[in-house]
Every structure is written in structure tokens, then in C-alpha cells.
Symmetry: C2
Subunit: 515 residues, 2 copies
């Protein structure tokens, strides 16, 4: 086996199944190896941000990493925005980046760039493979790091890809997580039992089914509140899972929610801070909270921590264990011309059981999360890092991870433009994704921010920087041009009919909604 | 004035006229300032790679920088690939990047990233503005650095944008170039006059009209050869300008061209090296050349150097000064089904006088450069850094820089997919750009590279990674969806009719060619 083949073989034997790829000349040995090493399925993206966003969606649903295969520094650079989102989501991803042969880098050929410097801006682990004898070990280390919720980036020079690997066993990744410490769990239990007003803020794997069930037991035992971070990476919803308020986007609302607590326990969540800093507004929301603590340290298993914490507490009775609000039902659908509110209610009604909802609807879907508390059980994914253009690639990866589940991609037009190439991959792979495209022809969030900044009269030119209406993008044409059947609707009735049809048919669809 | 306004005012008084912008919340003071400070025209792009590629095209045509305005690290990251191309082209660009307020960065809000580390991967100059009192000086320093052919990146925290600038004069950039040294010029003259076989390799501003006219005088005086780098940033062609062979892409051909010289003089050109490193092939082409020298040092003016060098040499007679090959005419157009060769000849015939040709046609336009030696005078722009997705944004910026000139964008379908959002900006700004989209539904260059690598039988999966045909992108729908009228042609006759119509009508057009 050569270096490229060994890297795939190591990945495949660690359980990796998919590679989101946009390779170039320096990655040709990796391209060839797709045929020779069984077990790694390549999925082609026509822009690197599609590949990295898809790896993010895949990892969030699967819990295990996909590979990406990207071309040198500039190819990686095109994928950085969605890797940034994945970093914030703590999604496991292993990037494989080709490089010029070691003997040619010093000549500084045109595509040369500081790939490692670039990788450091988002990776939790990065390395340039220095010798073919080390590539299996490098790959295993990358996978282990990724499994712990990091982006790992392995840069492999072309001559190392081509060199023969010396005979010997392949390396395997070790366990990425360690057990939480007893005294930490005991301290959290003490906080929860001291009778003061307490909230647990959940993120990461704490929002998985197991994490939420353990958190629910804790709440039933001691009466604390459970709160989700503002932008959960991947949250299970429905059934008898607890319904969590999310920390609001604007700091005054976030502060209002959090200021009432004496104690806040962070379960795999970072300290909550304002998304942007506004003059005269709070930046950190726990500054005045008497007690706040992390339930786990870096690298520890939050699900184990929550389960052990629940074990420290008195058990609630069967009756008390029923989650408040579960099965509370949905608001009625309202007919007529679509508005963002009507659209959110309609989706919450129609989304099938076990759907994956990827929400990059920005202002248009602000009502959705609260409404969908009454929907059938589903998985909910949001934009964790604020780098728009995550939704359609993320939906693509989620559908590859779970081909048996319907994926609904709630997408705003401004954000969709960044990575619209994802539609082509959805068509090529015949994925069951329905994109609900909210076309308000604006960067509405920026209009809100301009207003919020309180400028005395925003000028015409500034306003024009938030206007996407000239020309209006015809999303039906764009989508069909990229191979995804599409329709445009402007009433609830039209949406219901189009969404039901899209969900019933195989393959991807796009529904443009004029909002 | 606040910090944002001072930055614009400093830029405007240094002659900067345009800002290619895709701002977000942290750049709102800059957005507002577009109305308050006269002289900076914002051009909105719906993806940052469009903005940076447009700034590249603008700078290549204008010779002076445009600003870009991008949103934090992830926004900048989306622009890196085209900034990499611009770095290789030595295009003057000043990036303005917003950041969180200084008091909020330590809270590590979701969009936080190491912006400076990212900027270092492509910038020749980068700085985080530390105080509002310094922003005019920072801006002037950025512009001066950019004017010398570098990418300058100025990162401005939100609170510094908003702070009041203390009264006082604005800073102005100094002269970016120094005069070449006399002994260097004398040494080059000595080399040229010693009777050995000599070539001058030209790049950068040496390929401007003034640079080429001086180089032509040198050739007529001493009989040396003039050669262009493989990927010229911006070359003037036609009239009585010299016709330059380009260094070929593949190393065996490049070596064959260059190995015959005893002496090579580099005029604003880097040492020529292989685009990729192939096992058993040369990486550096001048390793065995007895003498090679740089005509100028970093930061010196190549046009002045060439003119002074010409002055050191005997003057050729008027008759000898006629460039060989000028007015040599064009091959006849061939009718019927289009092929890449027929298409290149047709464009060379039909391109109007003074056209700007942006060539990212990859394999489909490989014949164009040689053929167009007989075309009417025009400017020729290529992909300098190898990061595909440069063509349509670059054409957009070129058209903003020279609204009176027709721009023809020779584009391959694989490359076009990376930054197709540029079409929307072309429509919004009603630019006179005709995109000739070569749709072969393949990454044909990668198919060539796979073949070249000599793998014994490339597998089906590897082949599928180079295939863009399933589904075929319908570029007419995509283009119309983004606001640019489009047609599809498959014969020379169809192309001639469509191209003549597109050139006669105002605004952008796209012609898809099935090749």
C-alpha cells in the first residue's frame, strides 16, 4: 500500500465510511485510492464549503467523523467558514489536505500557501505528515482527536501519498473521552440540592437523547431549569424529552432569562456570551451569577456525567417524571398569504416523524423552534458559528449520514447564496432533502442591526447594502439549473401541497417561498 | 468623524474609488459611512470570493487598489482563495475587516476567529487597528503597501470604528516604489551585449504597455528573446506590442523552451518553476542555466528599469523596430459543431478593439492565447495562483474599473461553479460582460492529470470524481436565475450570432457552449 491507501485503510478500520471531496492534482493518489481501498465512499462537492459543511452535518447526525479531501491551501480556505461552524458545534471531522511534494515546496509554485497556518485557525489538531512510515499513526491520532469533538487536519505531501508504506499493522485511535471526576459530580449535586434557584445550560452531546433523558431525571429530582445554548449543534426533540428554552440572540433578552439564577451549571456548554458586542450592553451573562460551574472538564464525557449526577439525586415518582409541555400540541395552521409565522407553523405540522430539521432560516424562522416543541420527534440543527452558508451543505451531509430519514432544510435566501452549489450534490446523490427557501430578498438581519444601532436615519446607500431584490434571484431556475426540481409558493395552501409532494417523492426538492 | 469615516476619507483622498463589500453586523459603522463620506462606491457581492476576486480584477486593470469590506474571520476566509490569486498577481488590494469590540473579543463569541493569523496566509501587510487616533495612519500604510503590489489587510474592531477621531490632518500614503539600482541595470546591459543567447522573462508591470514597449526596444537592440510567465496577471496585446510565448504549463515543455538560454533576465518575474511537482520531472527550470538575474529588487519599479536598460543599448533602426508577427492575421473561422479550437478562433475574430479578456477557460481555451496574437488590441488576464473560481469575479471587477470597455469572460464550467454568485453582481451593476461558458461537464484537467500520472487503469470511482455530468448543470437556467440573460449554443454560427448580439446589447450576458 502507498501512503494514500494506508490513510484510507486506517480510517476505514476505525469506522469512517464517507469522504466529502473536491480534490485537485496534488490529491490524485487519494482519488485513485477510492477504487483500491474498500469502505470509504467519496461524495463530490463542486465547492469546498459544500464538502466541509456536509462533513459538519454528517458528524452532527452520526457522532463519528467523515473525511474531507481538499486541494492545497486555497481549497482548504474555501472550506474554512463551514469548518469554523463545525468547530463551534464540536463536530468530529478529519480533513485530508494534499500538498506539493516535499522536494518541490521550496520552489514556491503558484498554489503554495501556508496550509498549516491556515489550518491552525480552526483545527484542534493539525499535522503535516513527515514520512510515509508515520501516516497510519498520524491518521489514527487525527481520528481520535476528532472523535473528541475537534476538527483534525492532516496535510499530506504528494510524494508521501505515493511512497510505499513499510509492512506492519495499522494504528487505531484510542478512546477520545475520559470519565468525569467524582468530586465534580458531587459538587454539582450539592449545588442542585442546596435549594437555590439553579439552571443547567446544555450543549454538545448533552442535547442527545441520552443526555436529555438524564437531564430530565435531574430536573424531576430537584426542580432546576434546563436551558439550551442559543445555537444548539444537534438537539433531539419530541417524545417525552424535555422542552428547553434557548438563550435568546439579543443580549438584553439573554440577560433577562439568565439573571434570575443563583447557580448555573454548564453541561458541555461554554459560558454564555453575547453574539455581538453592543455599546452599553452586557457581553457576558454570568458575570453577576453568584455560582457557576462546568459539569465536566475538556475531554470528559458529558452524557456519563449527567447520568452519574442523576444517580446522586433522589428519584422522582413516575408521575412527576412526565415532562411538562410534552404533547402540548401545535397552534392551528393559518391559511392565505404566507408570512414567516404561518410558514413556521405549517412546517411544524407537516414535518414527518424522525425528520432532521436544519435551520438556517435566520429571521424568517425565528418562531419555528418554539412552535415545533409540539411536533413529532425530530432532530434539530442550527448555525453554531454564525458563518452563514452552512444550511444546504449541512443538510446534504445529514442526508448522507441518515438516508432513511427525511431532511428538511429551512433556508434563508441571503445565506443560501454562499453555498448554493450544495444543491448539485443533493441531486447527484439523490438525497431526500426538501429545501424550504425563505425568499425575502433582503439581508433582513442586517436591516434589524442597522435599526438597532440607532443611527439617526440610515442613508440610501447603506440600505442598498442589505437589499437582494435587484435583481431578485429566481430560486426555481437556479435550483432546476443545478438539478433539483423546484416550485415557488406564496400561500399556506401552496406550501402544504408542495411540501407534502416533496416529502412523498424520492430525491431532493426546493420550495421557494415569497415572504 | 468616527473611525470608519476616517478610514474612508483617508482612502478617498488617496484616490480609492470602489469598495467590494459583503459586510455583517460588526461592519455596520462602515456600512453607514458609505452615505456620509463621498467618493467610495460600494459594490455588493453575495459571497466574499466575489468581492475579493472583483478587487483583483479591478486592481489589475486600474493599477490602483479597491477596498474590500468583509465580515470577521469567516467572511475573510471565504475570500482567501481569490486573495491568494491576487497575491500571485501582485494586485494592489486593501481589505477592511471588522472585528468584535475590543472589550468583547476575550469572551470568545461564536464568530471569533484568529483573523490576523488568517490574514497572514496571503497578506503582505496586516494590522489590527489598536486605537482610533491611529486609523488614518494605518489606512495610509495599508494603501502604500498595496500600491507596491501587495495585499494589505486592516482589521478594525467595532468600537474603534465608532470612536471619535481626534481633530487633525489625514495621513497620505508615500511612494510605493524605489528606483532600480544603476549597477543592476548596467549588469543586465552587459549580459545582453555579451553575445550569448539571452531571454527576458516578463511578469507584473513589465507586461503593461510601457513595460512591453521598453522590452521591445531592448529586443530590437540586442536580439534577445522575450518570454511571458506561464500565467500573466495582466498583459497588453496587439498593435505593435511584442508577441511573447508563454512558459508552458507542463514541466517537460517549459524546460524545452528555457533550456536553450545561456542567460535569463527576470523582469518582475519569479524564477520559473513547475506548477506541480511530478516524480522524475524538473521542479525548477533555471537550475542549469549558466546565468540568471533579477532586473529589479523587491519594491523597485520594473517599468523604469526596462526603460533605463533600453537607454543603455544601441538604438535599432525604425525598420528593425517593427515587431515580428504583428499584424500576422488570424486563422479562418471554421463552421459547424463547436470544438474548443473553433471556439478560440471565433472569439479571437469577434472580440472588439480594446476588449478585456479574462481567461479561466482551463483546458478549453488552451489554444486561445496563441491565436489571439492576431486580434485587435486588448488586455489579457489569467489565473495567476491556480485557485479556480477567479474568472467571473475578476471580470466583474475589471468591468467596474473600465466601464467603457467590453469584458469577455472565458470560463470553464468546473471553475465557474466556485463563484457563480458573481453573475448576480454583474446583473445588479449592469456590467458589460459577456461570459463564454465552456461546458464540457468535466474536470478535464484532472482527467489529464490522472492519465499523466500513468496509473495502470484508473477505476470507476476515481473517474466519477472528475465527472460533472450527473446532473449536467443547466447554465442558462442558473444564469437567468441570477439575473443574467443567457443562451446555449453548439455551433460556430450560433456562437457568432449570440456573441455579436451580447456585445451589441448593454449589460451582462452568458453564452453556454457545449464543448
Amino acid at each position: 500500500m502507498n501512503g494514500a491507501e494506508v490513510i484510507y485503510a486506517t480510517a476505514a478500520s476505525a469506522g469512517i465510511e464517507v469522504c466529502f471531496a473536491n480534490p485537485g492534482t496534488t490529491e490524485m493518489p487519494f482519488v485513485k485510492a477510492f477504487d483500491d481501498i474498500k469502505g470509504i465512499r467519496p461524495v463530490l462537492g463542486l465547492f469546498e464549503g459544500v464538502c466541509t459543511g456536509a462533513a459538519d452535518g454528517y458528524g452532527r447526525i452520526k457522532g463519528t467523523p467523515a473525511l474531507t479531501l481538499l486541494h492545497l491551501g486555497p481549497g482548504l480556505a474555501n472550506g474554512v467558514a463551514n469548518l469554523h461552524n463545525a468547530r463551534r458545534a464540536r463536530t468530529p471531522i478529519v480533513n485530508i489536505i494534499g500538498d506539493h511534494p516535499t522536494w518541490h515546496v521550496a520552489a514556491d509554485p503558484p498554489l503554495t500557501m501556508d496550509i498549516e497556518g491556515l489550518a491552525r485557525t480552526f483545527s484542534g489538531w493539525e499535522r503535516i505528515s513527515g514520512a510515509v512510515s508515520g501516516v497510519s499513526k498520524d491518521t489514527a491520532a487525527a481520528i481520535q482527536s476528532a472523535m473528541g469533538g475537534r476538527i483534525a487536519t492532516l496535510i499530506v505531501p504528494h510524494d508521501i501519498q505515493l511512497s510505499a508504506f513499510p509492512a506492519g499493522p495499522l494504528s487505531a485511535p484510542g478512546n477520545p473521552y475520559t470519565s468525569p471526576e467524582d468530586d465534580h459530580i458531587a459538587l454539582a449535586a450539592k449545588c442542585l440540592l442546596d435549594g437555590r434557584k439553579t439552571a443547567i445550560i446544555l450543549d454538545g452531546r448533552a442535547l442527545s437523547r441520552k443526555g436529555l433523558l438524564a437531564a430530565s431525571r435531574i430536573r424531576q429530582a430537584v426542580g432546576c431549569d434546563l436551558i439550551s445554548v442559543a445555537f444548539p449543534a444537534c438537539m433531539e426533540r419530541g417524545d417525552n424529552l424535555p422542552i428547553l428554552p434557548r438563550i435568546p440572540y439579543y443580549p438584553e433578552n439573554a440577560s433577562a432569562l439568565l439573571c434570575v439564577y443563583d447557580t448555573v451549571i454548564l453541561a458541555d456548554a461554554h459560558e454564555p456570551v453575547s453574539f455581538f458586542g453592543y455599546p452599553g450592553q452586557k457581553g457576558r451573562f454570568l458575570d453577576e451569577t453568584p455560582t457557576h460551574m462546568n459539569l465536566i472538564s475538556e475531554g470528559q464525557d458529558v452524557v456519563e456525567a449527567l447520568e452519574r449526577l442523576a444517580g446522586h439525586l433522589p428519584r422522582a415518582s413516575e408521575k412527576e417524571r412526565r415532562e411538562p409541555g410534552a404533547g402540548s400540541g401545535l397552534p392551528d395552521m393559518r391559511s392565505g398569504m404566507l408570512t414567516p409565522g404561518k410558514f413556521c407553523v405549517a412546517v411544524a405540522h407537516l414535518q414527518p416523524e424522525n425528520a432532521i430539521i436544519v435551520d438556517e432560516g435566520t429571521t424568517s424562522t425565528s418562531a419555528y423552534y418554539a412552535v415545533a416543541a409540539g411536533s413529532k420527534p425530530h432532530t434539530y440543527i442550527t448555525l453554531t458559528g454564525g458563518a452563514i452558508g452552512m444550511g444546504m451543505p449541512c443538510a446534504t451531509g445529514a442526508a448522507i449520514a441518515a438516508p432513511e430519514r427525511p431532511v428538511i432544510s429551512l433556508q434563508s435566501d441571503g445565506s443560501a447564496m454562499y453555498t448554493l452549489q450544495a444543491l448539485w450534490t443533493q441531486a447527484r446523490e439523490r438525497l431526500n432533502i426538501t429545501t424550504l427557501l425563505c425568499a425575502n430578498r433582503k439581508y433582513r438581519i442586517l436591516q434589524q442591526e442597522l435599526k438597532r444601532a440607532g443611527y439617526p436615519g440610515v442613508g440610501e446607500i447603506a440600505q442598498s447594502m442589505t437589499d437582494l431584490g435587484s435583481p431578485p434571484v429566481d430560486w426555481v431556475k437556479v435550483s432546476e439549473g443545478l438539478g433539483v426540481p423546484a416550485v415557488s409558493v406564496n400561500t399556506t395552501e401552496g406550501l402544504v401541497e408542495a411540501l407534502n409532494r416533496a416529502l412523498a417523492e424520492e430525491g431532493p426538492h426546493l420550495i421557494e417561498m415569497e415572504l
